[in-house]
Symmetry: C2
Subunit: 177 residues, 2 copies
């Protein structure tokens, strides 16, 4: 069961650098890709910068619809995430193929992935860096989180088949937001 997450807390999900699943929809056809190249750009409204290569099938959907969802998976989904990364949506419905459940979003056409513990509904707000870097600036318009998940065991890409799984949490007297 998910609840709305305050937009001011979205950075806490993405700042540690998890692999995410980016969902798009174009002409009624949804797609999902794995993505690691993303960063926060602003706290509130939360802005996220991310690279979606123009070799990815999702690129045109993102560029043309200017909408997507960022879905944050945990380690239980690692095998499915890798399959999403290994294949293209051009020839395959990855949701059906890998047993990912698309659920309707509230503000955008792209679906959310039920199995991911957090889902961020996003709109493209700046595409000036797309031509040179395939870099999109997204604004997170609504955020959902499974309140039962604490210290989410996210996965973090180290390349060449290696993923780091989020380990223990430490607390330090940080004044950083």
């Amino acid at each position: 069961m998910k609840r709305k997450l305050s937009l001011s807390k979205v950075y806490r999900l993405l700042e540690p650098g998890p692999v995410v699943l980016l969902t798009t929809a174009r002409r009624g056809r949804a797609n999902v890709m794995a993505m690691s190249w993303h960063t926060m750009l602003e706290f509130e409204p939360p802005l996220v910068g991310c690279v979606v290569s123009n070799r990815n099938y999702s690129f045109d959907a993102l560029r043309l619809t200017r909408e997507c969802a960022i879905n944050v998976p945990t380690v239980e989904l690692a095998a499915k995430v890798v399959k999403c990364g290994n294949t293209s949506g051009r020839r395959r419905d990855k949701f059906t193929a890998y047993g990912l459940t698309p659920v309707p979003a509230s503000l955008i056409e792209a679906p959310l992935i039920a199995q991911c513990y957090a889902n961020l509904e996003c709109r493209v707000v700046d595409s000036r860096m797309v031509r040179k870097y395939n870099f999109f600036v997204l604004e997170v318009c609504r955020a959902w989180i499974d309140a039962a998940v604490r210290s989410a065991r996210t996965i973090h890409h180290r390349g060449r088949g290696e993923f780091m799984v989020a380990g223990r949490t430490i607390r330090l007297p940080s004044r950083m937001k």
Copy 2:
């Protein structure tokens, strides 16, 4: 003892989202700040996008010298990283105050931090996004790594004093680079 790391492997350090220490130098005065808002933009030459707020003392040094180093700390340095994040270099030499050892870089004026297991010498190659987002595009010109460190126990910012420590590594049949 550090060796040169192939530039083609730099993404493997930054993609998992570690907190890094950014070093700059201006008019012979070095500084260091903690940073979590960064992403890979290109594999090779490695391009990194990062946000350095114009409220940070490092901002002017980075903007004017167009050079910096990205130093990747592990959990042993967590307390010092937090201190760097809590204080400004405007009034303090953080290297001396926190026992971080600056060592000369090979291609840039900014120092590297000896205690960090990896060091990336960077030049600013695009500052078009600085005015709007404080977002700098860096090219990594040289990379150094402590070859003895495997599965580095990096730290990952979750906000409000919480940091996730890199956990176990899993291997999956990924075809992603």
